[in-house]
Subunit: 199 residues, 2 copies
Amino acid sequence: MHKPAITQVTINETIANRWSGRAYDADLTVSHDQIIALLEAARWAPSCFGDQPWRFIVWNKNTDAESWQLAFDCLAASNQTWVKNAPVLLLVCADSLFNHNQQENRWAQYDTGAAAQNVCLQAGSMGLMAHQMGGFNAESARAAFAIPAQFTPMAMLSIGYAADIATLEGEVLAREIAARARRTLNELFFSDKWGKAVD
Amino acid sequence: MHKPAITQVTINETIANRWSGRAYDADLTVSHDQIIALLEAARWAPSCFGDQPWRFIVWNKNTDAESWQLAFDCLAASNQTWVKNAPVLLLVCADSLFNHNQQENRWAQYDTGAAAQNVCLQAGSMGLMAHQMGGFNAESARAAFAIPAQFTPMAMLSIGYAADIATLEGEVLAREIAARARRTLNELFFSDKWGKAVD
C-alpha cells in the first residue's frame, strides 16, 4: 500500500513515502546485509559532541526465533496482533550519560530519535517497511535482555516487507486504510517568533 | 565539500551524504518554498500517538534580519564564528506534554529528534546543508522568543548553501577537513541480546 505524505511542495521521496504500516509479509526474510544497512544508516546520524548515544538490539526471527519471541513478548497486545508477521524486531535505547564525562546528556533521546528515523528511512529506501512503537513494556525488555540502568528503552521497531493489506482485519485494517493526517504547518512551525504563522 | 559516510554496505545516498559542515555561502538565499519543504519533511515524521510534539521557529536573514540576529545571539560564541554566514536559523522545541491528555510525553524529545533529522535530510536532498547545534543558550532563547514552559528548546540548526571551505580558517577549518568518524557497528548495535556483536 502506497500512502505518501500530502505536502504543499515536493519533498524527498524517501521521506514522503515512509509510512508506519501494519501488514507484513511473513514469508519474506530480511538479509544480514539489509540489517547492516539499516544500522549503518543509524550509525551516521548526527549527535551532540558526537556521542552517538543510541544502542540497538536487533532480533531476526530467521536466525534466532527464540530471542525474537522474547522481544515480541515485550510488545503491547495491541501491537502483537500485527507485528507477529514481521521478521525483524529492533529495540532502541538511549544512553543517558555522555561518554566523555559521564554527565547527563540532555540530547540523548533527541539524538537517538534521529538515529531511529534514519533506520525507518533506510528501510523504505530498500523496499522494507519499518514501524516504530512506544507500546511495549520497557521494564520487561530491560529485565529480559539485561539492559544496563543508564540506557533508556525508547521504542521498538518492526521491520520487514509489506504484505497486501487484505491480510489484516478488523480495527487494524481500518487503521491501515485510514487517511494519513498531520497538524497544519502553522500549528507546528513559526516564523520569527513563537506563534507567528510560517506560511 | 563532499564527505560521505564510510559504510560496510551501500546506504541511501541522502543519508550517506548528510554532513554537518560549517562553511556557508553568505550570498545564496534559501527560498520560502525551500523552507516549506524542510518543514513538510519534519511534519511527516512519525510520533507516539501521532502527537507531533515538535515546534520550530524559523528565522530567515533575508526577510527579517533583526529576528535572525536575536536568534543568532543565543548561539554559543564558538558556533557564531561560522554560523554568521548561514541565511536560515531554526530552533527545535519539544512539547513535554501529550496533546490528548496533558500528561508527560516520554517520547517528546525522541520524536522531535526524528523530525529534526528529516529537516537535515530534506536540506541535503535540495542541495542545502543543515547543521544541528546543542551549543546555544536555551533560556536566552526562551526569554527572547517567549517560548512557553511546556516546550523544551533542544537544538538550533543553521541552514544554507555550502561554500568553499577556503572561506574558513583556524580551528573551524581544521574540524571541517578532519575525517568523519563513528564508533564501530559492534559498539552500538547488538544481536539477540545486549552486548552480543551484530556483525
